[in-house]
Symmetry: C2
Subunit: 426 residues, 2 copies
């Protein structure tokens, strides 16, 4: 079985720098794995996949089956960690234009406060058979709770007493608004463990239920997570890509690289970068520190942000996810006139040319003094997706502990809420 | 008529700082407007809307009419400035889920090299009536030219000799591969002026043809551009929001703010930020200088990047586009149980609550020492969209000249291409 590979050759990080960083990194890993660090009550994700609630998992699959058999469209309600992982997975696996090519369709709601967005969404699903998945630990998250009021009314009007069979919730096991609602109305409920925070929750029912309902192979996903938990807990620094990635990005940050851009060459993985931004941004953006996480989609964005990366302020390092074996390809045909002078490429495939674009770009940016890290994923299937998520989560936790930052809290998120609730007259 | 307003009250930029910056800014503006600056052969956009080719414009409207009457879907082929402005406009005006609610649908191609993306797109349009718009000045841009080979074959197979009536090109007036193709096959062709670069070209047929074909009111758009060209060319510094915005962001950059995030509270304007990133990133990212442009969509991203903005490294300033009068709204209903404790909001609208989220967020980030600039757009219609584009373009050009940077070139974009073409054996 091929592994996800990390390539630091273009990172301008030397063997010596890595060795100097090693003690700190290994100490952080140890602290994490033996549960002696700050917020160690939130490290349930480290071995969650090895101590699964098999009964609940079977129920997830049964619910997913019901959803698949009874709906044209799923609306997934949730915000932040309550939907980003599922969305990233569904788009990466089902691929571009999946909502026009796969059933059931998947729509997202409760992740913003736009009246226009919600109104249009209701119009879109009007004539479709719909099931709902609502994800919220507390059930009081403003965006999701408000939108769930609207969606519940819509479902009740559409399906009357059958409505409850089409609404699934993922929430706290014992308490909270969503738990109470599910008990009152009889919605099927799945649990979010107390010891796993939102941005680490894609491996729990938070991710598993929507993934399974969208037809993804969650068995393979869990297999990938288990494989990752085994491989990435090794204390062999040189052979642990989480430790190496954590070390490299911290070394680069100390050298003045303030922005990390996560780059992909497949548009279907754009949402993986959105998930990654939450993971690292929310974990590390504290105490006036942290690497600003941004993302670009190449070659598209080479025609917008490429100039800046190449010749702009030298505050960037570039981490590229290379997906080997993309799903589907097309051969370039010959053209009798060859006005565009591209006949030298006829017979070659788009994916082959895309690979060369990556290689050429990586070299060019390196020549432009932009450090490059490469993460090679053998295939973007459920197995490697599980591994990739775990790889990033483990890196992030180690990175946080290395910097004496709590990678499991997000105290700053409350500030705007306090103001907003005051303005709303709560 | 209400104007687009710029609010610098939360920017931490003082009156004195602005006054100190004023001479440089006004000198840059003068240099731009009298055409004495570097690359002054590329300032055609400044007054383009006032010297329109009315004959061509009527032909654009006629072609758009044909497209609307004869297609379920348009495929717009182009990359960078050849599609970002049109996409931003179509999404901002037609709104969320427009491809499911409006006809004709609009798909994008030729903006990446993914074989999987292209293969899926072909599958999606298989049973639809299709028209094609191809935008490329040279006609040899790799992504667009390669994909056009595939799409042309598809169209020829589907429509035989009628194919040519369904393909529209926007390209150089006299030369280039796309021009030759259009002459050979009889495609209707529209011209990209020689004195307007890609990222300033949304005001030309590059933007106008796809916008009109998607049912947008281009008359109103041009009216907005004319209004902007009048209002934003004033030499009255204090009353010229382009000069003020250019001054403020440069002052902030000098104070160590390396990243500008463009924030919106409506998901339909996400692509405006993509267009803006190209405009500023490509114009300013030179000589190892420039402000790194990133974008966030709130409140969605408050649950991912909010923590970083609030408490992370103090390298960010935040520019928010506030859209007054969003299209469509929904009232929050009362709930008999009020488990979510949100009944205090019942009777209020989502857009009202969204406004309060903006105000609360702006204050919180300000309290977190993040400078905030606000751009208030009275309504997201074609008129104000024209003004908004012009506002950003004028700001960008002034900003570039202020920093002795050429805002009309992108030399660094060639570096990766050279490597790529070598690897491809050109």
């Amino acid at each position: 079985m091929k592994k996800i590979a990390l390539d630091l050759k273009g990172s301008f990080v030397t063997h010596e720098e890595l060795q100097n960083m090693k003690p700190q990194i290994m100490e952080a890993q140890k602290t994490l794995l033996n549960g002696s660090g700050i917020s160690s009550d939130m490290i349930g994700w480290v071995d969650y996949m090895n101590n699964y609630d098999e009964v609940e998992y079977e129920e997830i699959k049964a619910s997913a089956s019901y959803i698949i058999n009874n709906s044209d469209a799923i609306i997934l309600l949730g915000i932040g960690g309550s939907y980003l992982g599922a969305r990233a997975s569904i788009e990466a696996i089902r691929g571009d234009f999946h909502n026009e090519l796969c059933k059931p369709q998947v729509y997202y709601a409760g992740q913003n406060l736009s009246g226009a967005y919600l109104k249009n969404l209701l119009e879109v699903v009007k004539t479709k058979k719909v099931c709902i998945i609502v994800v919220s630990k507390s059930g009081t998250t403003l965006e999701t709770a408000l939108v769930f009021r609207i969606i519940r009314d819509m479902m009740d009007e559409k399906y009357k007493e059958q409505s409850k069979n089409r609404i699934f919730v993922v929430t706290d096991e014992k308490k909270g608004a969503l738990k109470s609602l599910s008990e009152l109305y009889g919605y099927k409920a799945f649990k979010i463990p107390d010891n796993i925070g939102g941005r680490y929750s894609v491996i729990t029912p938070v991710g598993l239920l929507p993934m399974a309902a969208a037809g993804l192979d969650t068995d393979k996903f869990i297999e990938g997570l288990r494989d990752a938990s085994n491989e990435y807990q090794t204390t062999d620094f040189e052979n642990n890509i989480c430790c190496l990635y954590a070390a490299a990005r911290n070394i680069l940050n100390k050298k003045g690289k303030e922005v990390e851009i996560l780059v992909g060459y497949e548009p279907s993985i754009i949402s993986i970068a959105e998930w990654w931004k939450q993971l690292f941004g929310e974990s590390e953006g504290k105490n006036e520190q942290g690497i600003f996480p941004a993302s670009l989609n190449f070659t598209t964005d080479l025609h917008s942000m490429g100039q800046f990366v190449q010749e702009g302020k030298k505050i960037i390092f570039e981490t590229t996810i290379v997906t080997e074996q993309p799903k589907g390809d097309i051969v370039v045909p010959a053209d009798s006139n060859d006005f565009d002078k591209l006949n030298y490429l006829s017979g070659r495939t788009f994916n082959d040319i895309n690979d060369k674009a990556f290689e050429g770009t990586f070299m060019a940016h390196n020549e432009g003094k932009v450090p490059g890290i490469v993460i090679k994923v053998p295939e973007m299937n459920e197995f490697y997706l599980g591994k990739l998520f775990y790889f990033f989560m483990m890196t992030c936790a180690i990175s946080g502990y290395t910097n004496n930052i709590d990678p499991f809290t997000q105290p700053g998120v409350e500030n705007y809420k306090k103001n907003m609730f005051r303005l709303l007259g709560k």
